[in-house]
Subunit: 133 residues, 2 copies
Amino acid sequence: MPKSAHVERSICPIAVTLDILGDKWTLLVVRDLLLGASRYNDFLEAPENIRTNILADRLKRLEEHGLIHKSAYQARPVRHEYKLTEKGLALRPMIRQIVKWGNEFYPQTYTPPKKGPAKRPSRKTLHGINSQR
Amino acid sequence: MPKSAHVERSICPIAVTLDILGDKWTLLVVRDLLLGASRYNDFLEAPENIRTNILADRLKRLEEHGLIHKSAYQARPVRHEYKLTEKGLALRPMIRQIVKWGNEFYPQTYTPPKKGPAKRPSRKTLHGINSQR
């Protein structure tokens, strides 16, 4: 289905959501944004080793769908940083349920601390733990 | 990544979950199972027109990962039906959040009745509404 002529598969909210988020990488980029990543290299630090072409594509798609906002932080050469919009931040409860399900059925996965971000869990911590395997 | 030599990308519960559910179709099959679909043709009735080869692949993967249970309901020729396991049923809260997010940001999508399945919403109703578009 060409991006420019996107047609929704149905009026099912699950189908519409999967058209945007249904792949192996997009929600990992959203995860990193929630954990404070904003610049290109931040995302490349994640333990899943996302390829730069996949990262660029997913950031573009997230922007096109209004889940992130892009702004330049440097002029020559231009460099951008990315922030979740309200629509992107609203993915938090969904991601929380994904974490819960993953933790329940895959006990070897990392369990984030219960008392959610009084201090926000730093990416350093997350990626530190992730790379211990 | 060959299925037989599956290696997890990280210990992140989101990555592990996306390795199983991160595509455009798997959660639609789970949706239909939650709505009462069990036999092959039930899934083909859904408005997204899943292709039979994709359906067969996703049912196989869901079974391999312990999210559904397959049993024969007919001998010659053998025909199977599918039911969600506890692990599959445990996806309900995640799917509920996906529906909520989809409904919030795509108001044209179908909103399921608030008072969840006192009587379980029939697939006929869902697909009837879906095909009105």
